[in-house]
Amino acid sequence: MYEEPYRWVEAVGNRRQYLDDQFKQGSPVVALTYAGGILLTTVSKGTAKLYEIYDRLALGGMGHPTDLEKLRFSLLEMAHVEGFNRSPSDVTGSRLVKYGIAPVIKQAFEEVYKAPFIVRILVAELGVKQEKDSLLTINYDGTFEEATGCAVLAATPDIQTTMLSYLKGQMFATLSLEQALDLGLRGWAIGSLAQQQDEEAQQVEAKPTGSKAGSSSGATPSNETLIAHIRAVAGERTIECAVLDRQTPGSSKYRSLKQADLSQLLPKTLQSVVAG
């Protein structure tokens, strides 16, 4: 039935709708560069969403844990075989993404008989110099984007734009880790709040009497609102942070921040979240 081109386009359209629905409950991921390297942060429930891929590569993901695992393994496999056969400096994020997993994700997305990957992926690469730091995001259909400074994964493109416009305009190159963490978590809260509002708006829409007001538009929430939101959700979830730290001795630059590290680095208003 999908042999006809029109049907195929329709099927892909349906698939997009199905996939968009899958991310509604997901937790956004924020990556930003700071003076000493790159920070990745999210607030996860249960399964971890931030991983080490190679000496200078880190992964953040949104979506189905099993799909994420599958892609994480292919990234690890490609990176290590390449690093062994050539050299560790030949393992770059953009090669892994563009020639490695992006085509695989695209193919799975377009083969309408098979299941697509329910994932959005962020690959952060620590450059030898700060100017070379790069961030790549891949969508469930295999589209990838390269960015510098900051990049995010979010439930919808709109929320992604909202988060990015909140984060942009910072002097990323001069941020300390504490400042980056504070900014990253606030950026996360922007995304998480926008997601909540979208959901509420939809519930209102579902009722025939509800008006269309109260959608995700409006002013940027204040810092207090954002911190309050993080405090509210952090009770049943965990703040997850990882850095690619240029100062780390040895070849592996990835380090996930433990609770003890976080309690020192987090802004004062959030420290109790980790301690408690």
Binding site: E52, Y54, H80, G250
Partner: protein
């Protein structure tokens, strides 16, 4: 699914083989690396090696690094054919990282030992043919048990624990005797030595090996060439800089008769 986190297996699936078991070229002098030692001292384990690589009577290279850091807490010192040894180190380095990154936990110390053993076993035919014999010493700090450990191997891959010390390479018979003597009748056993005392002993031992073994390189002060000395403690592997070895060598190793 191949989800065991075994990097070597992955390489083999891609058609990789370690070394070839080709016939040894008759009379062909292969490059060899010589004299490595490891012993436990107060804070952990010290691993050291001279810097000479020889092929028959010829000195191939005088700046060889035979004490190779595999990860934050383990070191492999190599004696034998460097070509094979370096390749093994590269495989191990990638294997341990791959395991940690896929399985989200460190490979246990025993797991690391097995990995070394496995590679040596794969290499047996090359070792027997004379083209790739490697006799390593593997030392590290087992962070789970909070203790330093030393293992040495034969070319077939059998692993032996060196309770106090281990040596390998052509200069090793000389210093093995000295280590035994020091540890048994010395002023204090090796494991009681301070960091500085341990470094001095390592320099003296390598100087003795160089005295009696032509394939072991000594200290060359004109070229400021000192042995490679690494210390492994709970905090990780630390390479002792030449700037630290130089005064120790000059004050406590050189004898002006």
């Amino acid at each position: 699914m191949g989800m065991q986190g075994d990097f070597y297996q992955l390489l083999k699936e891609q058609g990789y083989t370690l070394g070839s078991s080709g016939q040894a070229g008759a009379g062909q002098a292969l490059t060899n690396a010589t004299t490595i030692l490891a012993f436990k001292y107060r804070d952990g384990v010290l691993v050291a090696g001279d810097r000479r690589a020889t092929a028959g009577n010829m000195v191939m290279y005088d700046r060889t690094d035979k004490v190779l850091e595999i990860d934050r807490h383990s070191v492999m010192a190599i004696a034998g054919v460097p070509a094979t040894a370096y390749e093994m180190v590269r495989i191990l380095e990638h294997s341990f990282k791959y395991y940690r990154r896929t399985q989200l936990q460190e490979l246990s110390f025993d797991g690391k030992l097995r990995a070394v053993s496995k590679l040596l076993k794969e290499n047996v035919s090359a070792a027997l043919a004379g083209t790739g014999a490697v006799v390593p010493v593997f030392a590290g700090f087992d962070t789970e048990q909070n203790s330093a450990k030393i293992y040495f191997y034969d070319i077939l891959g059998a692993e032996f624990e060196g309770v106090e010390y281990a040596v390998s390479g052509s200069g090793s018979p000389t210093i093995r005797g000295i280590l035994h003597y020091l540890n048994t009748w010395g002023e204090q056993p090796l494991h009681a030595l301070s960091q500085e005392q341990a470094m001095v002993q390592a320099l003296r031992l390598l100087a003795s090996a160089a005295e009696f073994d032509s394939a072991t390189g000594g200290v060359n002060r004109e070229a400021s060439l000192y042995p490679v000395v690494k210390l492994i403690t709970g905090a990780g592997v630390e390479t002792v800089p030449d700037a630290t070895l130089k005064p120790l060598y000059e004050s406590q190793v050189v004898r002006y008769v």
